[in-house]
């Protein structure tokens, strides 16, 4: 059933966020540390195990793939509720700090990505796949 896939995804999400909050408390930070990252690792490990033991039929899989396909529309909704007015109203300090940090960090991507050898680009995407 599709709900099994959705439930597995949701359970991984919650477990990861709880783990991230616990880590935040242990480190003494008022923030979640890596919750979504832990959730992703959990989902990868759990679904891999379920698939290998034949307990993840295609229908259950659809429950996860649906949310994955909804990702871009959800991100668009996220963009539509950003505080863009405040972002633009911060004056020169905020603009220079924001633009400067973004530019410097973007420029460092090729440097960091070279650690441990360069990777091949992904194959080109099919037109309708996106």
């Amino acid at each position: 059933m599709i709900i099994y896939g959705v439930a597995a995804l949701a359970a991984c999400h919650l477990a990861g966020v709880i783990l991230g909050d616990l880590l935040g408390i242990i480190l003494g930070v008022q923030s979640n540390v890596g919750g979504v990252g832990f959730a992703m690792l959990l989902l990868i490990v759990v679904t891999d195990w379920l698939r290998r033991t034949g307990r993840l039929p295609a229908l259950s899989e659809q429950g996860i793939l649906f949310w994955s396909a909804m990702y871009i529309p959800i991100v668009v909704a996220m963009a539509a509720q950003q505080n863009v007015v405040a972002a633009l109203a911060g004056g020169p300090i905020a603009i220079i700090a924001g633009v400067g940090a973004t530019a410097v960090c973007m420029a460092l991507v090729p440097v960091v990505a070279r650690i441990g050898g360069q990777d091949e680009p992904l194959p080109p995407l099919m037109a309708q796949e996106a």
Binding site: L9, G20, V29, V76, I115
Partner: protein, 254 residues
């Protein structure tokens, strides 16, 4: 008419699906017709989303963009942290764990470098504008990391509300820039494989920025970038009021 708006308000999330669906359709049409597909439809959609957020913010004076308009409160639920994180987690389905292990060292280096460089840039800009005390410099530096690290650092150190507001603005601007800019800079910085995406997530850190920016570039890169970006804000909140502040204190002499 009132009856219809009433129904739309009551069915906020359902109406949000329609609204975003229309925005997506429009975006892909614009992408095909005006840029011959060169600017990805999802990039256009995110830009339209940000413009709508700006319009909503101007119209209501609120802080949640279009979601502050009563008719569009459902956008707030659809694009809120809960469903956003669920969707981000779901993109990890089918990811090859070996890719993540291979890029682990680069990811950790990216996180450390991304946080430190953001603090350095933010603190330098703050000092250039006359905020030469370590508290203000650390707070604006935190804002240059993300719009959460800034206020968390500022609150912990007792920064003025004016400085905290500046740090939030810097972080918001970074998120918006990363969302819009990623597809344009991707070819220049080799952002086309899982490893560079993990480096990108760790260096940029803003989850919403990275989530939107990579979606507009190549959806297959999303899980790798999100994986590292999700550690960034927490680590920034950890380092900001401690290591970064103490380093700035040592440099400025109090």
């Amino acid at each position: 008419m009132e009856m219809i708006t009433d129904i739309l308000v009551k069915n906020g999330l359902v109406f949000a699906f329609v609204t975003v669906g229309v925005v997506m359709w429009l975006s892909y049409q614009l992408s095909d017709r005006l840029s011959a597909g060169r600017l990805h439809g999802s990039a256009v959609a995110i830009i339209i989303g940000l413009v709508l957020a700006w319009i909503g913010g101007i119209a209501t004076g609120g802080s949640r963009g279009l979601a502050d308009v009563p008719l569009f409160t459902g956008i707030g639920l659809m694009g809120g942290a809960m469903l956003r994180d669920l969707a981000i987690v779901s993109t990890a389905y089918g990811v090859d764990i070996r890719e993540i292990r291979k890029a682990g060292a680069a990811g950790i280096a990216a996180l450390a470098l991304g946080i430190v460089m953001s603090f350095v840039v933010g603190a330098l800009v703050a000092a250039a504008f006359g905020y030469t005390d370590a508290v203000s410099m650390a707070t604006i530096g935190g804002g240059a990391a993300t719009y959460i690290v800034g206020p968390v650092t500022g609150t912990a150190l007792g920064a003025s509300s004016e400085v905290i507001a500046l740090s939030v603005a810097a972080g918001l601007l970074k998120a918006v820039l990363v969302m819009i800019g990623t597809p344009f800079v991707a070819p220049l910085i080799g952002l086309n494989n899982p490893k560079s995406a993990m480096a990108y997530g760790g260096l940029m850190g803003t989850t919403s920025g990275v989530a939107g920016g990579l979606a507009a570039t190549d959806k297959r890169l999303v899980p790798y970038g999100a994986m590292t970006a999700t550690f960034y804000t927490g680590l920034g909140c950890l380092l900001g009021p401690s290591v970064m502040y103490l380093a700035l204190l040592a440099i400025t002499g109090g």
